[in-house]
């Protein structure tokens, strides 16, 4: 009975049923590194939250495979006024929420207002937002106090996401998310699974966003905190997909006839976030000393093991991205303890310990810290490596009294301004007049070529003033069952098109 119901669910499913072996069937089990601690992606920037919630909550815009912004709940790209301050966004009509109501501009306006108030990325530009108004039943208008080019990218991004909720459930805290996505949240058992089931009244987005075929009946996200357990589960056929695997397991997964590795080449960048608010690193010479002393290539090698999984690359965006530039990268991978010692002497360094905060939640963070410590000590630093658990790190990094450097990483994001470390409002507190001036020009400029040129200046600022320290590029390893198809490799893989061969 269930099978028949499945086949009747939609045109796409019917087609698949007819096709035979790829019939819409069963469940897709996905191993993720931990539970989403909230189902409200507005208030979270965690990858697991994005991965899970993108299936049931949708944004006005999204990205296509080439990281181009395309409409999702919006009917089209916005109409932007000449001066770049008024965005008129047409909305798709007849889009249903999971509660049966139909999305209209009031829902969108209420959701975006909440985003501006509670989402970290929304709050960061709240000052620039003049008003968000429902100007027609299927149209909203956002007016800015000054041009802000990355606005549409922000509206498309899946973390700290501007998702659209029904107006009725908008509240400071949203416990039970209701959205428009192809799946809806069926059950959540903390530490066990998050179960999503197909939303039968889903309406497909426009062609640009791609079909969301709702192939699996259910998508289940299973939190498996231990990397080894994720690998074993994948290889034994228990999971159809597994996120965030160790590069060390790559060869073994490759050799399996059950599963295969998914390599996200040049996925992201590990970085040393610098405390500009308090402590040692507020001194430019100390920052330069760290920058000069770090053995970038050794750190990457120790953490990722094989050149297949990393590149020693100083450009903040690797080749192939429109933002790629080699500006100022001569300051990357100097790996010169003597030069560092000179900077230290200039700073009058007195042996005060440099506190590096890290955790073993991501083993490569810790591994880079260990190698960095050795090199920094060789250059004359006293290093205090604080290895704590993730909860403690997440607490302590918000207190500028407790660290000089903490280690983190980020995927390469489609728009440079999504990197919060660039902004003085971030916890690192990097403020300097030259950088602010460049940054402001960058966010106001709408012409891509002009923005590229300004971005090169911004990268010079990052290196010249040591705003943050990029360690290199690294590739991420995920794994999928050999039977599974239809999942586009991404930092935030989506499973609405995931099909399992018999």
């Amino acid at each position: 009975m269930k099978f028949r119901a499945t086949c009747l669910a939609g045109a796409a499913a019917v087609a698949l049923c007819a096709a035979g072996p790829l019939a819409a069937q069963g469940n897709v089990d996905v191993a993720i590194i931990g539970d989403a601690d909230t189902f409200d992606p507005m208030i979270s920037t965690k990858d697991v939250v994005s991965i899970v919630t993108q299936h049931f909550l949708e944004t006005l815009y999204t990205f296509d495979e080439n990281w181009q912004v395309v409409p999702l709940l919006a009917a089209d790209m916005p109409t932007i006024s000449e001066d770049g301050t008024t965005y008129t966004i047409p909305l798709r009509e007849g889009v249903s929420f999971h509660d049966g109501s139909t999305m209209d501009s009031a829902d969108v306006a209420a959701s975006l207002s909440r985003w501006k108030d509670v989402a970290s990325r929304g709050m960061a530009i709240a000052d620039q937002i003049g008003s968000i108004e429902a100007t027609a039943p299927s149209e909203i208008t956002i007016t800015l106090t000054e041009p802000y080019a990355p606005l549409v990218t922000l509206l498309a991004f899946s973390n700290s996401a501007a998702v659209i909720y029904p107006e009725e459930i908008i509240a400071p805290e949203i416990k039970e998310p209701i959205g428009t996505g192809p799946y809806k949240l069926e059950a959540y058992q903390p530490d066990q699974y998050t179960q999503l089931v197909r939303f039968d009244d889903y309406t497909q987005p426009g062609e640009a966003a791609g079909e969301r075929a709702q192939t699996p009946d259910e998508i289940r996200f299973i939190p498996v905190p231990d990397t080894n357990t994720r690998v074993e589960g994948l290889l034994s056929g228990q999971f159809d997909y597994a996120d965030s695997l160790s590069t060390e397991a790559f060869a073994r997964i490759e050799g399996s006839d059950v599963a295969e590795p998914v390599l996200l080449d040049a996925f992201g960048w590990p970085l040393f976030a610098v405390n500009h608010k308090k402590g040692l690193m507020t001194d430019l010479n100390i920052r330069r000393a760290v920058q000069a002393a770090l053995p970038y290539d050794d750190m990457l090698f120790a953490a990722f093991g094989d050149e297949k999984f990393f590149q020693t690359d100083g450009a903040l965006y690797p080749e192939g991205w429109p933002w790629h530039t080699e500006a100022a990268t001569e300051l990357y991978n100097i790996n010169d303890p003597e030069k560092a010692a000179e900077y230290l002497a200039e700073a009058g360094y007195d042996g005060q310990p440099l506190r590096i905060l890290t955790s073993r939640q991501y083993e490569f963070h810790y591994q880079m810290a260990e190698v960095a410590q050795m090199a920094l000590e060789m250059a004359g630093f006293t290093v205090q490596l604080d290895v704590v658990d993730w909860a403690t790190l997440a607490q302590n990094r918000d207190n500028p009294d407790l660290w000089d450097i903490y280690i983190t990483h980020s995927p390469f994001l489609p728009e440079p301004t999504l990197t919060s470390s660039l902004f003085g409002t971030a916890r690192e507190g990097w403020v300097n007049p030259d950088k602010e001036e460049v940054l402001e020009r960058f966010t106001r400029e709408t012409d891509l070529d002009a923005r590229k040129a300004i971005y090169a200046e911004l990268q010079e600022q990052v290196y010249g003033d040591v705003g943050m320290i990029k360690i290199g590029n690294f590739s991420a390893v995920q794994g999928k069952s050999r039977k599974l198809s239809g999942v586009v490799p991404s930092p935030w893989p989506a499973f609405w098109n995931a099909a399992k061969a018999e």
Binding site: Q189, D191, V224, T229, E232, S236, Q238, W390, Q395, D398
Partner: protein, 313 residues
């Protein structure tokens, strides 16, 4: 007999009271204000103050302890900070894997250890005796997470004999859930079989030295018949005793084993609670496990009393 029971019951109540006290004091010893510790640095002073009131932290410490005791006796162990549910509800939802794992692994340990233990005692001093004991001790000397990893890797993933991890997922049936417990139970059972083996062997040696066994031997009964007729009849006693003794071991082992096999049991829960700083859950787990321990030991003592007529109190 009746006075013995009464004494045991009073003793048990006192011990449970102390368990509660210790659990209360432990969490209070955590440096810093519990409310702000629980909420993290992002919390506003108002939020901290509100939680302090909710947790009763604004009351004098004795009053806090009093209401903690009163609540605990009513079966209220507080509210989990992470789950936003009563701790007892959370614990109840995690009890099945842990309890079944403990029982399964006890069974595995008994099946491995009892025959070998009896055999070793029967052949005391022989090579077999020495080898079996040393092997069992070696199995108990390897950290159990390592045994688990190796089993998981080779028996589950490579050979496909068992599920590699988890508890069957959403809506898994009873059989499916139990299937997921087999390999963890073997892991934990092997680790704990050494204790049972040694205990069985020692008890058997005792029994073999008893007067009635000597009499039987003197009457010309073969050693094998002595063992089968007399000794085995008394094997129930060491088994009962060992259940009580290994309970704590099993729970400790379950914490690690559940982690290796990603089982949603109380052990995994408490580790996650530690990583999340969910103090009410840590406290609640300590209380429930300790209370279970006390109860299990009372029951085993009473069973002992029922089975072994020689025991006088």
């Amino acid at each position: 007999m009746r006075s013995y029971l009464l004494r045991r019951l009073i003793g048990m109540i006192v011990v449970i009271f102390l368990v509660l006290t210790i659990a209360f004091v432990l969490v209070r010893l955590a440096p810093g204000d519990p409310a702000s510790l629980m909420l993290g640095p992002d919390a506003s002073p108002e939020e901290v103050a509100a939680l302090r009131v909710r947790l009763g932290l604004d009351q004098p410490i004795i009053a806090q302890f009093g209401s903690f005791l009163a609540n605990a006796l009513r079966g209220d162990l507080g509210q989990s900070l992470f789950f936003n549910q009563p701790v007892t509800t959370v614990l109840a939802s995690r009890a099945e894997p842990t309890i079944v794992l403990a029982l399964f692994s006890l069974l595995v340990a008994l099946v491995i250890a009892t025959p070998i233990g009896i055999w070793a005692a029967y052949r005391r001093g022989s090579v077999l005796d020495q080898t079996s004991i040393t092997t069992a001790m070696l199995a108990a000397s390897v950290p159990s997470f390592l045994t688990g990893l190796v089993f998981q890797r080779y028996l589950a993933t490579d050979l496909g004999w068992f599920p590699a991890s988890g508890y069957g997922g959403a809506g898994a049936g009873f059989t499916e859930r139990m299937r997921h417990l087999i390999l963890p139970a073997i892991t934990l059972g092997i680790t704990n079989s050494a204790l049972i083996l040694r205990f069985t062997r020692a008890s058997m040696l005792d029994i073999l030295g008893e007067d009635y066994v000597r009499t039987a031997r003197a009457k010309g009964m073969t050693e094998r018949r002595v063992v089968l007729r007399h000794a085995l009849k008394n094997a129930g006693i060491p088994i009962i005793t060992v259940v009580g003794l290994t309970f704590a071991l099993l729970v400790s082992g379950a914490v690690v084993t559940e982690r290796v096999f990603n089982l949603p049991g109380m052990g995994n829960l408490v580790v996650n609670a530690v990583l999340r700083r969910d103090y009410p859950v840590i406290q609640g787990t300590l209380i429930v496990v300790a209370a279970l321990y006390v109860l299990v030991n009372l029951i085993t003592d009473l069973l002992y009393l029922a089975v072994d007529k020689r025991v006088k109190y």
